[in-house]
Amino acid sequence: MLAQQLVNGILLGATYALFALGFTLMFGVLRVINLVYGFYFTAGAFVALWLTQAGFPLVLALPAAAVGAGAIAVVLDAVLLTRLRRTKADELSSLMVTLGAVLALYAGMAAWLGPDIRRLRPGLVGSGALDLWGLRVTVAQLLILAASGVLVGALLWLVRGTRLGLAIRAMAEKPDAAALMGINTAGLAATVSFISGALAGAGGVLIGLNFNAIHPYMGEQMMLRGFVVVIVGGLGDIFGALLAGLLLGVVEVLTAGYLASGLKEAVGFAILVAVLWTRPAGLFGRTDVRRA
């Protein structure tokens, strides 16, 4: 029973981590708290929904949803954030601007599509389950784990192991100095928007799969969790977000399993408050939030 709960929690946590990574990357590099990020999650889920309804297989719909959400992120960030970044506005301004924008986007989408919950086509992934040493793991869960693992690994490799990643880390720390090195910081900002939007979009598809429920406001619910994960992990800290995401997934599942399922959200926020009280720089205690 406990082992099964842990497996479910880790699977859920993997998608939280995936979602939070894009958010923390964006904050770490672009220095903006971008609440529109939750919308990229919704957008990714809908792109995958429509593509699979049109008969495309999930292996195509998932990457297409990620790319679509990334492209939307590039456009929206350019429209909303370029000015704020150029004037080096504080984090509160970006919070307020993107809060207004994202509420408008959700409401617009709900007005257009209706607020009802949509379901993915039955039989999209095998409905079977594997029995691994007495643990039940569905095919959907395996797919979620594999996709999150690949994406997280790819992000870490990109940031730590490539020339583009070097530029990203330089810009995260000192944007002006990075520009003096000849790095095209405006172009790199768009690239980072794309990567983080794509992570959010992929997260939307995977959560849509996990709960088989897609609706305009799903990004808003996820954003609250994303906030917990990112702050507990330390804003801008990639490894922190990874660990905190897994932790939140496990804690939610255990709370629902052993206490009451209605409490699972409350526990997440209780952790958030406790962490902010005791370790304002995040659970992993790095005081420098400029890590990406």
Binding site: L166, A167, R169, A170, E173, K174, D176, A177, A178, A179, L180, M181, G182, I183, N184, T185, A186, D288, R290, R291
Partner: protein, 236 residues
């Protein structure tokens, strides 16, 4: 042929005008120094030259091409390379990564490798610390790293913003020895300094900046003998 010609440059932060119409020329192979008190506008001028600030008015000709208002990475691509005020090394990145970023725009891998070797031979302390975060270096070492990082780009015009700021006297001497070496090798340099005596000694030409205006300019030796300069900047 002159490398850099600034004319009628105005730069403002909102309503406060920090640079109020300056003209300045740096000829190829020259070391030109720009001296002035705190808040005179020296950093503002260098940041504008690098494209980090858009000027309100004026021309910045580099080899006959107006670079005023161009994006920083394009200006860097023309060979205008800056060692900014306060060094601005990437503290979380290793010494090696900092040097690699200096060569960001250099396509020729062999030239980069060669320059890397030359710089490490010149600064053996950096070689010992290649894998360490730049933030762990002492202030003097960080300044050497900032210089080395700039040299990785093989600058056609090197902008130095107070390279001696906040450093111990021995390190300051080292920095000026390096500037003299670069000058001997033919590097074109615009040097901003508060350490006026050392700057005037190494420079060919000097400009004095006071609240956004050039109040005096000429051959460095001549400027160094000007009574007003002696009184205000040379502690005479």
């Amino acid at each position: 042929m002159s490398t850099l010609t600034i004319s009628g440059l105005h730069v403002a932060y909102g309503r406060t005008e920090a640079v109020r119409g300056i003209d300045l020329t740096v000829a190829e192979g020259q070391v030109v120094t720009l001296i002035g008190a705190n808040g005179a506008g020296k950093t503002t001028i260098l940041r504008t030259l690098s494209g980090l600030i858009r000027p309100r008015a004026g021309q910045i000709l580099f080899d006959g091409r107006d670079v005023a208002g161009m994006a920083p990475h394009l200006i860097a691509g023309l060979g205008i390379v800056q060692v900014p005020e306060g060094r601005q090394v990437f503290a979380d990145l290793t010494v090696g990564e900092n040097l690699a970023l200096g060569a960001w725009l250099v396509r020729d891998a062999r030239a980069t490798q060669q320059r890397h070797e030359t710089i490490l031979a010149r600064f053996p302390r950096l070689r010992e610390r290649l894998g360490q975060p730049a933030g762990a270096l002492s202030g003097g070492e960080q300044q050497m790293l900032a210089m080395g990082r700039a040299l990785m780009a093989a600058p056609r015009l090197l902008l130095l913003d107070e390279p001696s700021m906040g450093l111990a006297p021995l390190v300051v001497e080292e920095i000026f020895a390096l500037i003299a070496e670069l000058k001997a090798a033919g590097t074109t340099i615009l040097l901003v300094e508060q350490n006026a005596s050392a700057a005037l000694e190494v420079a060919d030409v000097a400009y004095v900046l006071e609240v956004g205006r050039i109040t005096l300019s000429g051959p460095a030796a001549q400027v160094a003998r000007n009574p007003a300069v002696v009184a205000a900047y040379l502690g005479g």
